[in-house]
Symmetry: C2
Subunit: 126 residues, 2 copies
Amino acid sequence: MTDLPDAIPAMSETDPPPYFRAHVFVCCNRRPDGHRRGSCAARGSEDLRDYMKARAKELGLKQVRVNQAGCLDRCEFGPTMVIYPEGIWYSPKTRGDVDEILEAHLVQGGRAHRLMITEQDIVGKG
Amino acid sequence: MTDLPDAIPAMSETDPPPYFRAHVFVCCNRRPDGHRRGSCAARGSEDLRDYMKARAKELGLKQVRVNQAGCLDRCEFGPTMVIYPEGIWYSPKTRGDVDEILEAHLVQGGRAHRLMITEQDIVGKG
């Protein structure tokens, strides 16, 4: 194992300004039916991604990008998404949940606390 | 258009700690051959993603995740990748470029300046 610095410097004064104000990644990984871990796509994440993209556009959210991503490795909370640079993880199940995240996080600049994945949810993180 | 706060609060003291120390997203969008914007996959991004995943594992980089992503909308620099939470964008063309990013950014905690996409590269950003 390589010894790493305790924390990669998150920001540097010489870094370019952020290109997106908020960059949302929605896990759209799909495993075969019956896989023991399941997958976000099997739990409906693709529809949530499509809905979020469309609603973000309708709301006129500037410098906000919604992307699909490969397996984010938090399958047990799926469908999962993460918003950077904040690094906030959410577990939306419905389009209503996505509306709540859009409004609380991306419009108001706060957090959709009810839907956040927090340390309390983590069991056996290795 | 919705009026947004000037800056979404990037961090809050009540936020959970970061789940990954570095989260890399490699654009693997593929457009049809001959499309005027081209695409990262058509420029070889899938191989660079596979290589980066494998090398990150071999280097023993902990709490580093390499994911594919849909179109990051910076096609003109493709193949493109972005590393969060720092929000640093890179334009690697070869496996050697990926090695340079791994070493400078993810091992040393600095920047692979030669390969960064900076403001100077942006023409006509709307």
